[in-house]
């Protein structure tokens, strides 16, 4: 498509000068977002990597320079793997990583189980109901994330709504300790990321060819079997996209374990935050970030692949 536009441009009587102006305009258009992302997205990661290889020191900024001028035109590069070594030897970090992966994984499954029927119901609904129902799913996403997480404190705390309700029903006599446990973190992540699961699932299910289901029904296939053998496999792309949208950010989540999880819920995003803000150990925080990124490289690449297919190349 774009190639076509270009070739058209060359043929439809653009004078050389105009063409050059047009082309340099194109280069300018490209240079602005490209340059911005290089400066504010790619280079920062290289700096994180650099500082992860530096040593912590009591100064401003609190890390040793990697490149030092020993004499004029003579540089000395000091690289230390101390931070990575420290992370491998201290159990805290390994436990935090594994715990983050576990919490993110379980929450993703919860989102899938809870979100699939919602997405399916909306996709199967009367067309005039679809837009309002989708709006209902998206609306919480536009209200503050922080406030929605905070709402769960009032629900889950010992004298909160849930415990009062269960005691009123007579199911329990003592309040359950849910707030400040990993359980509250699972609930919080599932709640906050549910719309991210529903939307890609819905768009896959809505696009699905209904004639396949009709054919199956004509041939005497019961609806549940048609669902398992046709709908479910065909919705796998949506399930993957939704799961990645939940899993990747949930692994590095900070706000939810901090507000709901209590001190025992170790997650790596929280560890990074503590190293940075409380211990002021920037190099160690950078090393934690690099390691987290390494864990997430495969899911992120997978996500970009899915995203690229959805965006559609011209």
């Amino acid at each position: 498509m774009a190639e076509l536009i270009q070739s058209e441009m060359r043929h439809t009587g653009f004078l050389g000068l105009l063409q050059r102006v047009g082309l340099s305009g194109r280069a300018l258009v490209m240079a602005i977002p490209y340059g911005w992302l290089l400066l504010f997205f790619l280079i920062p990661f290289l700096i994180v990597l650099k500082i992860a290889l530096a040593e912590s020191q009591m100064a401003i900024p609190p890390f040793t320079p990697l490149l030092e001028t020993v004499e004029e035109l003579k540089y000395q590069i000091t690289v230390t793997f101390y931070n990575f070594h420290y992370m491998v030897t201290d159990d805290l970090y390994i436990i935090a990583y594994l715990n983050s992966l576990k919490i993110a994984f379980v929450s993703t499954i919860c989102c899938l189980v809870l979100g699939y029927p919602v997405a399916y119901a909306i996709a199967k609904a009367d067309p005039k109901w679809r837009a309002p129902l989708l709006m209902l799913v998206i609306l919480p996403f536009w209200t503050s994330f922080l406030i929605r997480v905070y709402a769960w404190i009032g629900i889950l705390s010992n004298n909160g709504v849930l415990n009062n309700f269960l005691m009123w029903l007579g199911i329990i006599d003592q309040p359950l300790q849910i707030l400040y446990t990993p359980m509250a973190t699972y609930i919080g992540i599932t709640y906050s990321y549910l719309p991210f699961m529903i939307l890609p699932l819905y768009s896959t299910l809505e696009r699905m060819d209904n004639t396949l289901l009709e054919a199956a029904a004509d041939l005497g296939c019961p609806p549940w079997k048609a669902f398992l053998t046709i709908t479910l496999p065909l919705s796998i792309p949506g399930m993957i996209a939704g799961s990645l949208l939940v899993f990747i950010p949930a692994t590095g989540e900070f706000v939810i374990p901090e507000l709901l999880g209590g001190p025992d819920t170790l997650m790596i995003g929280r560890t990074l935050w503590t190293e940075f803000f409380n211990n002021r150990d920037w190099p160690l925080a950078s090393a934690v970030a690099v390691a987290l990124l390494l864990f997430l490289v495969v899911p992120i690449m997978l996500f970009q692949n899915v995203q690229g297919k959805q965006g559609g190349h011209p």
Binding site: M9, D126, G252, L272
Partner: protein
């Protein structure tokens, strides 16, 4: 409504799960009592206290300014990036570019926040700019992570849109810049508006990245909210939540009606054209 009872039930559970917590905050914001388990009487007490909290109000004002500036810049950058991905075909470094655009969509915020802070510190050491951290660094960081969302919205609109109008204009000798401003821009205007709103909301709501790149004199609304809810429940925050929900719901419902009206008008035009 879907026909099967199972689906209706699933939908109901999902929506209740999404809405009950928000409804609870709204109800509690009118409770005169500080405790959540005791309802004493209906009152606007917490709204009054909210309006007197100078720290919170000035943080809210800073957040709105930051969100306005970042969303406006992010829309320009995101639209250009969306154009590149949807219309420019294969260009050198396309894979890297599309990677850099889509990574912030899922990148954990702690990583992005730390990376941007280290960039600002290093830049300051090397060039003396940006001087310290404050509103400027917050805006730069917010532009960076919100532009990806704008790009996705604009790109998907462009991909779903027929390029034949643009090609026709090119054939008739219009310059690329003119084609963009006269043909493409009006067609993708709805996507740009929703991209702006999305960027504005994300910026207004961001806590983690902001905490890394903000300075002592610049505290945004989420930072104030976070430090007060970290210690447990705070009825003032319930009132704030209710105000936020009211604004957002009004905006979204208005947008929904506007879209439905546009759709009706378009259908009527199409019908008239067919009869015509």
């Amino acid at each position: 409504m879907p026909k099967s009872w199972f689906l209706r039930f699933g939908l109901l559970i999902g929506l209740l799960f999404l809405y009950l917590p928000i409804l609870l905050l709204i109800v509690l914001s009118f409770n005169d009592n500080r405790s959540i388990s005791v309802w004493s009487e209906f009152s606007f007490r917490w709204y009054g206290e909210l309006m007197q909290d100078d720290q919170l109000l000035s943080a809210a004002w800073l957040s709105v300014r930051v969100a306005f500036i970042s969303a406006s810049c992010a829309v320009v950058l995101g639209t250009l990036a969306g154009m590149m991905l949807a219309r420019f075909g294969a260009f050198k470094g396309r894979a890297l570019f599309s990677g850099m655009v889509s990574a912030p969509l899922v990148m954990p915020e702690v990583i992005l926040g730390l990376a941007l802070l280290l960039l600002f510190v290093s830049l300051e050491q090397l060039t003396g700019w940006p001087e310290g951290r404050g509103m400027l660094t917050i805006v730069l960081a917010h532009i960076t992570f919100t532009m990806s969302f704008v790009t996705v919205v604009v790109q998907s609109r462009l991909v779903s849109m027929d390029a034949s109008l643009e090609e026709a204009a090119m054939d008739l000798g219009a310059r690329p810049a003119k084609v963009f401003f006269v043909i493409t821009l009006p067609l993708i205007a709805p996507a740009i508006v929703s991209g702006w709103l999305l960027a504005f909301t994300l910026s207004l709501d961001d806590l983690v990245i902001t905490s890394f790149v903000s300075g002592p004199g610049s505290t945004t609304l989420p930072q104030v909210v976070f430090s007060s809810v970290r210690l447990g429940l705070s009825p003032k925050i319930n009132a704030l939540a209710t105000i936020v929900v009211a604004i957002v719901a009004t905006g979204i419902i208005a947008a929904g009606f506007y879209n439905a009206r546009q759709e009706r008008l378009r259908k009527r035009d199409e019908q008239m054209a067919q009869q015509g």
